[in-house]
Symmetry: C3
Subunit: 111 residues, 3 copies
Amino acid sequence: MKVLFHINEPDFWPRVIINVSNFLRDVGPGRASVEVVANGAGVLAYSLDKQDVIKQMEELHGQGVAFIACRNALKMHGISEQALPSFVTVVPAGITEIVEKQALGYAYIKP
Amino acid sequence: MKVLFHINEPDFWPRVIINVSNFLRDVGPGRASVEVVANGAGVLAYSLDKQDVIKQMEELHGQGVAFIACRNALKMHGISEQALPSFVTVVPAGITEIVEKQALGYAYIKP
Amino acid sequence: MKVLFHINEPDFWPRVIINVSNFLRDVGPGRASVEVVANGAGVLAYSLDKQDVIKQMEELHGQGVAFIACRNALKMHGISEQALPSFVTVVPAGITEIVEKQALGYAYIKP
């Protein structure tokens, strides 16, 4: 199973974390490719000092979940790529990433 | 045609109902498989005493629309499965249901 | 690449415009089929006198982006089809348009 979660609202990170966690627990370890793509204001959570959310992302990353940031969004919000947590991968354009992953058979979910 | 509607906000039920109704009227009877998957706070409408929304769901169910509730969300909101309307089907994890249906060719719509 | 953007909230037009613009700049001219489908209150932007948004849509339309309005939504909001900008195409039901385009391989994005 392959699934991409799209987030562009900072307040929606808790529900994304819960959705991803429940999904991984439901399907079991190693059964799914999971990617979270943040664009727009969704990238803010990567830079803010919200240690609880970052820690939850880190745990999910340890289970294989990819966390993506859109470079356009980082620039728009004045976030330095050097300031991002090490588990975050930056792509040139979040929308292109979402389009390409769906073309590869990823389900799209907007929590 | 196959289509899945995803709802995780209680306030969005009226637009989901309208979207599904317009779609069914547009394509005609028996032409589409339609499923509505509620997770997060979207499941609240199944339990609240909102008789007008429940009645609209019931009418759509009579036209073949499946209404799904995520068990994780029911637990999180303290909703007993026994209290649900009889036309609601409970699945272990709403996200898994959404992923599987997209893999089967269902279009995904987030109203 | 083929991608459909779905908008049903009038306030989300700026982010749709930015998402589409960044995507087109990222992939380069003539590399993608892009369609924006507005239903619900998303159609309001086509009728309001918001000249800046309409102008941005017009520029994107010049780059090949299709702008679609749902007839059900136009009726619900009392918008005359004659009052729409000339670059807007009206379809009988926005949801059917979204379902059909996904069946044709379009990625779905809800900004």
